[in-house]
Symmetry: D4
């Protein structure tokens, strides 16, 4: 099984970090255990740091049982390699959630960003049903360079935040809710239709995408050689 050749089913994008600033990520669903192992070993051989998303506990346990040096966080379902080095990023990211049930997605965003070198502050359960909870944290949130707003149900957190801070806001709708929430469609539409400018949106439950986009934004704080 260890001799499975990834080139039969996967073409690893080894130049991705150089090209886009973010190494290739492994989307774990739908991959068999041998496929996943072969892919990870290939990255390990190249000493290329790698992140896996939506990794099941079974997939993680299998990889660890094969002595692959990876860490796994069951809340965010994020798998991270212990190998490879990633340079730290300047600036701070604030990850805010509307409620406690948004935690898995928020942690996916936070851990993705942290793995990529960012500093992350967490502000959880500051949703609009009790808006004083948000106001009590506002000073701290305003210190962030990028704000990630994670919310399900009616998804109003992003709009409210965008009207209160000057940083770019990335809104992440979650599938938290029921009935006419339609598995996250309600907050997705709400976030796309925000009356507050300066907010952009990612897919439902896509904490990873929000974290990765936030890191691209933080890189703007570097002094680039070609800039004059």
């Amino acid at each position: 099984m260890n001799h499975l050749c990834p080139s039969d089913f996967a073409r690893l994008d080894m130049s991705r970090r150089e090209r886009t600033g973010f190494g290739e990520t492994v989307f774990c669903p739908g991959k068999t255990l041998p496929q996943l192992l072969a892919i990870m070993q290939r990255f390990q051989a190249a000493d290329e740091a790698v992140l896996g998303t939506r990794c099941t506990p079974e997939q993680a346990a299998f990889l660890q049982a094969q002595n692959l040096p990876v860490d796994y966080d069951p809340t965010s379902r994020i798998l991270t390699s212990q190998w490879g080095t990633i340079a730290p990023l300047k600036g701070r990211i604030a990850v805010c959630t509307g409620g406690t049930a948004d935690l898995p997605t928020a942690e996916e965003a936070a851990r993705t960003a942290e793995f990529s070198g960012a500093t992350v502050d967490r502000f959880y359960d500051v949703g609009v049903a009790g808006i004083h909870r948000l106001f009590s944290q506002l000073e701290s949130i305003r210190r962030a360079d990028v704000v990630i707003a994670v919310a399900g149900m009616e998804g109003a957190l992003g709009s409210v935040l965008s009207g209160l801070v000057a940083a770019p806001v990335i809104a992440v709708p979650t599938s938290v809710g029921y009935g006419a929430g339609f598995q996250g469609l309600a907050p997705l539409l709400a976030m796309l239709n925000s009356c507050a400018e300066g907010m952009t949106v990612v897919n439902i439950d896509n904490g990873f995408g929000a974290g990765a986009a936030a890191c691209r934004m933080l890189r703007m704080k570097e002094n680039r050689s070609d800039e004059q």
Copy 2:
């Protein structure tokens, strides 16, 4: 034309006010001018106050040209009879809007309630993109017995208000917006999925329904004979 008999195409519900506390309403779209005139004359003959909704300027002008004693408000498209008497209601209704473009629906709600005897306070353009605008009016809004929250785009106004006042909140999504607003679907879903309890919702752009429901609620302030 004046001899058109409404019983051919319409069965007027003359006992409605007695049964439900709210007289029958004429939904104007799809009715021909002669049909509309015959219906209104029937109410006039019975001296039964009547309200018309979504009345076009052409329909209103035709009725007035026939010397029918009706008033017409082009913003709300509400048509009201000058005949009939309606007893005043106790208590106050606050009608709030997210933005200026929500005015037609808000006025439909306000004028429906006023025609039914209610006292209405208007708080327009207090949407969440600049939430301090809402907070500056909050003391006044809290004086209301029923709050109507009219908003398009992401429709967050209802959720925020429900978390701040103790009165029942009736949320009215509007078709204000574009793209993934899908003609009001976005705020409708957002309002149905509110994380704040105590809010109920009516159809998109249904100011009339919100005003009528608010009046039913105000009637709870009367001392009813059967209550002991």
Copy 3:
């Protein structure tokens, strides 16, 4: 586990009852057992009565096994604290259902209202397929100050009731049905498009929301000091 600090993942809204008349509610889905326990203990410490919704039997059993004084109703999936005191409300709420399968949602509405101090009368299985069943109960239903109409499938119960009673009607669509019911979309749309005025709507299967809104309405029967 008992030492888990809720402030890491939850900001409890202890002033909610004072602000909105309704204490904070715990939405149980997606919360881990330790999170749920820590949250409930925090309310217990403050002697603040608390309601949990959509609580699984496993969650309830865990809390009771930890000697937390809570009651659990498996039909409505409502969890209620034995601590805290709630003042009774004047007036009566009628909870009606279209069919037997709507019971869980109806009971969620009824128990939410009862926990908040309301008196509730139940009228179950009075749907429109055999409308004489509804008429035989109409006198009793008309005694209510607020009517909650719970129905799946075509959701016609709300419209029919709104045309027959003078009280405000809160319609609750349920996911009962199949095929083109689309998990409650059919009755939701039907209720939003009611031809009878005076009805407002909550999310699919949201008995809790209906019960809470009904209580806000009942509070209108109190003599408020600021009313003159």
Copy 4:
């Protein structure tokens, strides 16, 4: 123009009446004036009675200006040939509507059936918002062999009727309504999810289909030779 050959763009189904009991129908939208004329003339030449649906006033006026012996009803947009003979059908069809705005669709159903030889009784504006209006007509409606229930908005009329009569009920949703009515989707879904058995449904605003299906049912009242 009169020399246009229909076989270039249309293959008329001259054996349809024999095969299905119902002659071919011309769906007028999207047909040019010359195409429409050529098609109708072909039927005229065969002395085959023909019905046109959704015919615009312009199309009808053009055909009549060409001296084609056809009748046109602007409410239902039905065009009928004066040529051809159709045998009368036994039994009666009741066409009921929820409101006055459903008239065009109801008339399309009624006139389709009448053109096919059926006897039709009309019961308009008997919707569920004032259900006593329906009950006052119930004895008459029960005399029908087939009931057609035409309704927009929440479309509850069909369910209520199906629970009250023994005849088959054909429900026709209409696009009357606005907002979350989604051009007739709301009553369509409601009718498909009826809790009352014995009802079948046709497309939104498809009065023609309902009238034609009702005639197929009435033909069951004939004594068929092959039946033993």
Copy 5:
């Protein structure tokens, strides 16, 4: 458990057969075992024949274990009482399916009709992909007074049949398919938009509704006393 009183959760419609010609039906999903037993026993006590739909094997086994004299067909999930008498109906119903996977729905239609006294002929797997299979059965299908067309995927069977027979066609879309079939939405829409007149439609997978409607149609073959 046997002492559970159905009036707490169910109001049985004992006059239904007299009113609509079809006895009340028990929709089994969402009913607890004790509720189901209590309901059935009530019908048994009245010697009123009763049909249960979508009954799980577990529900059926429980009832039989309680010595309730009922029959159960696992394919159609139909439960039928051994008590009560139902008069036979004149005429024949043809039940056709597009494919083998449509069998459960087709059998639900067939057994519903048979329980109500109808004679049913089955024509299974005559879908349009190999249309000669349909043509080889056409003579037999044409002998039916009502045709039920059960099909999933693109649902073309109903349209093709409606163009070939003179009997009313009831189309039943099924959830057979995958992907953009959207659990039966594709055949449902196809059937509603049939270019062949004379067809009506029921809910997705609603074999019961088709069978019941077909029986209402067959009753037109009786000589009714009020017909003159």
Copy 6:
């Protein structure tokens, strides 16, 4: 105006024919008259044959008034250059329609293919409501190398054809219909869910796409040099 430089708003793909066998096409909607003229002149200068789709009569008239040598067909809204040369293709394409109203889309397919060098046979109005019309043409249709099936409403034509011919079938749903046809969604879903294998689908009303794809397929009849 004639001096407008296309490189400001359009990058013409002059190597497209060489790369894909099909020259670039101009999608006319949303282009201003000067933009359209500048683009066409650029192609004219290169003597590169070019096709415009969904061209309005106003756009065509403007170009012709500027003496641009182009032809315009108002039925298909196809604009074609008189310049440039295109080699003829081997084989035949059959374009079939369900009804007369599908003609514009069918002609778009046919003229696209003809402009690209293909031979096209037209079989119009052979829909499934009168399936004998299709059978009478079947021998001729079977002579085609590629069959294009254009149909609105329930879109069954493609499935029926795919089960009867051996050639690849390209299905084109059209927006012909109303109500639950949802502007072509119904036939689109039906065609995607065909139970007959060998059919592929293009966008609603996309006759152009069908014609272009058919030409790619016909090219398979050439002897290619790299084939061994």
Copy 7:
């Protein structure tokens, strides 16, 4: 069980291969084990090669345990008979995927085509996120006569490929993705709206349909007797 007669539930289309060039296929879902066995045995008796799609491991194991000579591939869920003979096809098909998770659908396409006599080249994991991976394979892909592009998520692979090759492209959306991917709706819509001409689309996850359509296209490479 072995004596079950398929004619009770299935009418096998034994002339299908002759008529359409592709033998009948068994859609395995929803078929009971005895039904499946009886159907396969019927094909075996006729020595007619047969393909089963979406076959579960349980179904395959059962058939093999009954000594039916069939092969099963768990990745594609394709079942193939060892009996029957199929003539090889000229030309080559390229099957490309966007990612590793699209493999099951891609293999369904590839194995369907191979079973039908085609030569297939696989190009997996060449999605647009790292477009150099696609370019490195382009020379080889261009050698194909038909290209099948299998992709989930945003489904851009088909558009990009259609602009780069001259062969017809069959796009297969997959349900790979989450959230607003809506089980494959996102790539389906993207593929239908491709700005690159020459591409046609099949149902979500319908590898079988793509493989079968590709084979129909390859048959164009034969010299047909009726062609002159």
Copy 8:
């Protein structure tokens, strides 16, 4: 008319620029001419620069006829005040489009950003159907700090760009397309489901939102005083 008081219908957010870095914007649709004039005059009196979006030519002409010093661009429908001063921003924004028809939305993005002080480079008509057009511009696009990708139809441009550049990519779906494009739904879903990380999305046709968000990102290039 000039005396209309904006406080009746609009509460201008004069502290918005200070709070969020972006002054208040006027959403012009649904505002009457007097309302629009009164709002603009209020900003003029405060010498606060202001931007209007989706302004019709009629609205712009009216304001200019009242001697209000504003500029209007009919392509983007952007209205800008000549008064007020805005500080320039560091860095560059690249605005790319898939086709010429995306120009209005692209210009809305570009002009919003330019009005806010940003430097914008335009790369129009670089869509994926002819991907060499994009590659020829790639070096220049990579110089941008933020990339805005504007595309309709299948919306693949954003995904392809995100895999090729290191800057954050803001994707703007447009309503360009037809049929199953569903007014921009297809590219919206495609962009939300991008397999390339680092991209965020705004509403359909929301060029303004993309431009405003890009400016928030550019501000990260400033040295902020609170950063240590």
